[in-house]
Symmetry: C2
Subunit: 209 residues, 2 copies
């Protein structure tokens, strides 16, 4: 019984690792597309999102089946339910990568990000991707120490977000449309890493209680 | 056994009804505060959020206990797990109402919403509140027909969001700071009703499979 439960949960965790890795790649491609105003990397972001959505459905079905058939209790139960939460967070991360790609597509072939904001968005993309890969490792290794780092790592995104607002509210010379685009983009990146932090909290909570 | 399960689930549903009603009131207060640039209604939004967060923790604990002790299967199991999702969505709704209130607080005593955008935000506030009250009734009455309406109701918010962007991208005379504030506010309202729609889908799915 114990062994069956562990095997089934491993299968769920495997799917979550793939989902997390896909969402990490998606924000990388979306950021590349955004900064280069290039259509080529935008297309796989949409494909990745389909994949993530389909994996989420599979994870949900597996977890429902696992709950019904194995009737886990205590920490096993929490582990199974945490899987549902993590799957939901990763789906949102992927949807936010799609929002980034679409923000680029709306302005193409014009550039959405003007030169003076490039550095901020390049770093936002890097931080988002780095956190998502760390989350992927957390899921692979069930590493609560690593999971606990995510909260602090997210401070970097918050600082970048503040820099972005200072830029927009300072000597901004690209008009209202450009400012609105960047403000929304900043929000998408910020929410992306918020969801990574949520995932990390579920894992931390599970390990430390 | 059956009776105990139903009673426990009723207790969870009761808490979700309170959470949903609180989130509905919160967006109403936040909208009032925003449109009147008035501090008085902003304060209860923050208190409501504390209440919602604390209820969410209670709902989670009750559902974990219920899963572990009653070991529900099939539709009962899905009902219990849906409760976790719904609680998560309502918590986000409340957090978004806080974002609306804080956007007002950042500019106070200046007005965040200029006269030509007032009608859009008044209607966004109304739509958000109306959907949240409908969701509250859905949870009270377990009414899947009503739940299915939420998806369509949300089209109204999408239309308002498009009107807002037209306004910002048209003949906007209030500068970049004002435009960024309103773009983010529009996003908060849009996400608020997205979460209502999510809740509705969980309920619909449960009733219709």
């Amino acid at each position: 019984m114990r062994q069956v439960f562990d095997q089934r949960l491993d299968s769920v965790r495997g799917a979550l690792v793939v989902m997390s890795a896909t969402a990490a790649s998606a924000i990388r491609w979306a950021s590349d597309a955004l900064l280069a105003a290039d259509l080529a990397p935008a297309e796989p972001v949409l494909r990745a999102d389909d994949e993530v959505k389909s994996l989420r459905r599979r994870v949900e079905q597996e977890i429902y089946a696992l709950l019904a058939q194995e009737q886990p209790v205590a920490s096993d139960l929490r582990l199974a339910v945490a899987g549902l939460h993590v799957a939901g967070d990763i789906e949102r991360m992927s949807a936010l990568a799609v929002h980034v790609a679409k923000a680029m597509l709306r302005r193409h072939p014009e550039r959405t990000v003007p030169p003076e904001a490039e550095e901020i968005f390049r770093r936002m993309g890097e931080v988002a991707e780095r956190l998502a890969w760390k989350m992927t490792r957390v899921l692979e290794l069930r590493d609560a120490t690593l999971a606990a780092e995510l909260d602090r790592d997210d401070d970097e995104m918050d600082a970048l977000h503040r820099s972005l607002l200072s830029l927009l509210f300072g000597d901004w010379r690209h008009g209202v449309v450009g400012a609105v685009d960047l403000a929304l983009l900043g929000r998408y990146y910020e929410r992306y890493t918020d969801h990574v932090v949520n995932c990390g909290r579920h894992v931390t909570f599970l390990v430390t209680g």
